[in-house]
Symmetry: C2
Subunit: 592 residues, 2 copies
């Protein structure tokens, strides 16, 4: 055995493979949510056949597994390069993105008038999860493009729509959102980038933005920034922010790209993960911008994009959870180590598989329970948004808005938890780059931070959405939950958790009247309570309609695991939320 | 503003600084544990004056802050290099390690007969935390050396002790433990590395080990592997493993280093973090080894080192929690963003500090409550080990053994949690390398994996240590807790959590008689329950004896936060532990 021929155990690492959960998705569409029946009542989807939907899912899964996933680890290792303002993405990314774009995936739920496919948001949620699982760095170029389309479609002039949307839906051009400045992150009201109106009606944009995902790269002919800036006479704070379209190349009248605009990438950020995603500092040096929507109404307009991105980033967390489960379950199945507590299960081999160990099963079942529960949650919220958009269902719209921050924060928090659990299943190999698991952890971590940190989501849920209607929308939802027919074993636990969440909501609403610090003090725990309650509902529904076969056996076993081992967390959360804000406010600032 | 002069927001990142918690440590030594009084009853420590102890703490803190911490980020960025079997550590590491060694820090609690300082383990725990905080990669070279000393001191021949211990305590030579093989991690019984006796009484060691921390590097004159291997006629499994001293260079009779031994580094592992720590694949090619202890008794002997390392790795988690708290509290104090819920607190500035936001306080207080609670826990367990070793206190020894896996797993789990929370406080900056916070997360993550993954610690606690005496030692400890006089506000909550832990322990012991899967199914939740209960006890004690000044105010506020917001987790854990093992065992292996 020569020392030089062996280059480390790392080289034995198995590539992370991704496989679409086709059976689970069809089960959700057909049996749990009966979306066909829901869609048949919506004119735009009346002709959407089950076979078409399943073919879309299968083809999306193929693109994810065969086109995107093979570049995930290589993209992390290679990263993006910056040279004199030019950014080079990892080998293969441009070609893979072109395939994603040419397949129409960016416009899947987009406006058909401008090249979108007009498919339901709920279907989009299922497909987005796959792309996030397969390669989150690569899909970031897509999700920002989709979000920019939504924003331009909602707030743009007819001309802006016709110039930008076809190019963006087709992926010839990509989108980016430019909000953050080095001193202004969550607090956008204090941003300084300025916009000055020019004689031609355009605006000169000057300032520096940081953390700009896909702000500069080499994968598309043009890059369209949606940039927040202040007019000289704008009111202070968030009411004085306007939104501008600031393309890299100014479009000619014929739709081709013309003159280079006055902005450039000042550098790439050096990040913990998502290294295939080019995150730039962008310097605007009198760049030409076109007002999108009304002056000083930019933040509200930007929220069209942000709400899309928040849901999408939640699905990123779900994608990480699913990928972590698959990779660690594959490892556990093949890794022989130790013996079952009750005695050898595989006596002819040197050891049993990791699957005999109860604690390994706990780690796998936790990942699976969250991944499948959160998939159902994403689909449910997507359906509410479809009902609002296409059927004018205001109640569904309120529930969708209420749950958008829950999906963003709960799914990304569980995404990290699951990635860490998956890493733990791999033991030492989980810490070694070649095995791919540590990348899933690093990549998943960003989901909790960007698009509004999860603490911001939680205060949006409690401070804004619960408080503004005194918890009425949540009560409606809890009413839907307790009215659902589920298998007998889940009836009482589900009623119990709903009753406890309802009581604690009323307590928070009442106490917040006297105490402005109360919502923020309890918001993260409250959001977790809501997320777990939703998961419990969806697991009860899934277990109650699961077929009498192996697939159904797995559903029932995972549901029971969720109720026995994960839902009890709500007992601690309930107690914690009962604490007054003094628990966090008592410490004087000077003593931190 | 020129695009090329700005190279990214990253460059504005603040270096992570470390400051020893001198006041907290003195409070623990003097007021909480009155160690002087305890030590005065131990002959070996009777002359140890408070001033000497505090000077040791202060000087250790200086070495940590001034010598080790400045190399933490640069060591991560530079990493270790491998070339033809030679390993180069990051710039400055060798000089810093020499300073650590020459200061006598490796031998702080070591045997004075061979150059150690003979200080209490409890003091060692406090000092180790600092070194882990300051630079975990660098301190790994030290902690493995200390562990090797303990093992040789306990199991070596007089000649082995005199040859190796002085060189190791002085840091001229360093130690490493070589256990893992690519197919044998947790399950050491299936290892294949072989040892064949030679005519001179030494053994020829042949095989490959992986994940060998400090296995090869350029910081010391010699590297002493403690290597597990099998004799040709050894019994199968863990009863057929022997332990060998396998130095890089064979020692001459005069103590100088002689012939190069027959092993070498085959490569470095590519890791998520602790990149300044050189982790090798080691190939033994008939290397000369010297039996340490008895043939086939190697695993038991190795546990002398492993038990030390487990406690030390727990302190690594504590170190990460403390560092994360300091760095994120500094950030929160200086970062102006948003306004307090009750209105501007700093109206002359563009925004208030992050400290006005209740959820930011929650994140900081969680880190602080765990860091300070876990520091007290480490000290408490160190004291039990001192009482056993120096005063023959068997009861203290049993408690120390019971809690060793708790310290290892609970402190490293909380270490990651706190690092992730600290990163969240920094928002986007937390994800950017130059700010140093993401490194703390990557570095902390290994603590949960190595030295026996945390799931292994949990099954050691429940399956071995609780089951072997039916929970008697834990009951003794709970008796100590409930017998402690604490401030009135903590009496009832502390009694309640002890009563619930006692009941759930009895339930686990009873159910495990019928169900071999039960301990493993509930062990991780059970360990967390024990850890939180211990923290509650120690927080109640700290709050109850804290002085009437700002330091005491902070202690009381943090204690109240712990009881109101963190201890409630035990309600969920209790419920989860009540579940039968079927919750994890029901899923058929084929359906994962």
């Amino acid at each position: 055995m020569s020392a030089t021929t062996i280059r480390g155990s790392g080289e034995q690492g198995k590539a992370v493979e991704y496989q679409v959960q086709q059976q689970d998705i069809e089960f959700l569409l057909d049996d749990v949510f009966d979306v066909q029946s829901a869609w048949s009542k919506i004119e735009a989807f009346a002709d959407l056949s089950p076979d078409v939907v399943k073919a879309i899912v299968a083809e999306g899964g193929r693109v994810a597994a065969e086109v995107m996933a093979p570049l995930n680890q290589s993209g992390d290792a290679e990263g993006c390069q910056w040279q004199d303002g030019e950014v080079t993405t990892p080998t293969g990314f441009a070609a893979a993105f072109a395939e994603l774009a040419q397949g129409g995936w960016l416009g899947l739920s987009g406006n058909p008038q401008f090249g979108g496919q007009g498919m339901p948001k709920s279907l989009g949620c299922l497909v987005e999860e796959m792309f996030w699982s397969a390669n989150s760095s690569l899909y970031l170029y897509g999700t920002l493009t989709v979000g920019a389309c939504l924003c331009i479609d909602a707030h743009g002039s007819p001309e802006q729509k016709s110039v930008y949307l076809p190019k963006l839906y087709s992926g010839e051009w990509t989108g980016a959102m430019a909000l953050t400045e080095s001193h202004a992150g969550t607090d956008l009201g204090i941003m300084r980038t300025k916009a000055e109106v020019q004689s031609d009606g355009s605006y000169a944009i000057t300032g520096q933005k940081i953390f700009i995902t896909s702000g500069e790269h080499d994968m598309a002919e043009n890059i369209v920034h949606l940039t927040l800036a202040r007019l000289p006479d704008a009111p202070l704070g968030s009411k004085g922010i306007s939104l501008f379209i600031v393309p890299k190349y100014l479009p000619n009248d014929d739709g081709s790209v013309g003159e280079r605009n006055g902005w450039s990438s000042g550098s790439l950020e050096h990040k913990m993960g998502i290294k295939g995603s080019a995150t730039s500092v962008i310097n605007y040096d009198g760049a030409k911008g076109f007002l999108l929507g009304e002056e000083n109404q930019g933040l509200a307009a930007m929220f069209t994009m942000m709400n899309y991105e928040r849901l999408s980033v939640g699905l990123q967390g779900l994608g990480a959870a699913q990928l972590a489960y698959q990779h660690s379950a594959n490892y556990a199945r093949e890794r022989l180590q130790g013996r079952a507590p009750a005695g050898p299960q595989n006596p002819d081999a040197v050891a049993d598989s990791l699957l005999v160990h109860p604690d390994v099963r706990r780690m796998l079942l936790t990942q699976r329970a969250y991944a499948e529960g959160c998939r159902a949650m994403g689909l449910y919220v997507g359906m509410q948004l479809d009902l609002e958009k296409y059927a004018g269902d205001q109640r569904a719209g309120r529930i969708g808005q209420l749950l958008t921050p829950v999906v963003k924060a709960f799914l990304t928090d569980r995404g990290l938890d699951c990635a860490v659990l998956g890493q733990q299943v791999l033991g030492g190999h989980g810490y070694i780059k070649e095995w791919g698991m540590e990348q899933i952890v690093r990549d998943a971590r960003i989901g909790q931070i960007y698009e509004g940190a999860n603490g911001v989501q939680a205060i949006d849920l409690v401070g804004r959405k619960i408080m503004r209607d005194g918890g009425k929308t949540l009560q409606d939802l809890l009413g839907d939950i307790t009215a659902t027919t589920v298998a007998p074993e889940f009836v009482e636990p589900l009623a119990d958790v709903c009753q406890r969440l309802d009581a604690v909501t009323q307590s928070v609403v009442a106490r917040a009247q006297q105490d402005p610090n109360l919502p923020g003090a309890v918001s993260v725990d409250f959001l977790d309570f809501v997320g777990l309650t939703l998961c419990a509902w969806l697991w009860a529904r899934m277990a109650s309609c699961a077929p009498q076969n192996e697939f159904g056996d797995a559903k029932r076993a995972t549901a029971r695991y969720f109720f026995a081992r994960l839902l009890p967390q709500t007992l601690g959360l309930e107690q914690s939320i009962k604490a007054e804000s003094a628990a966090v406010m008592e410490m004087p600032e000077t003593l931190f």
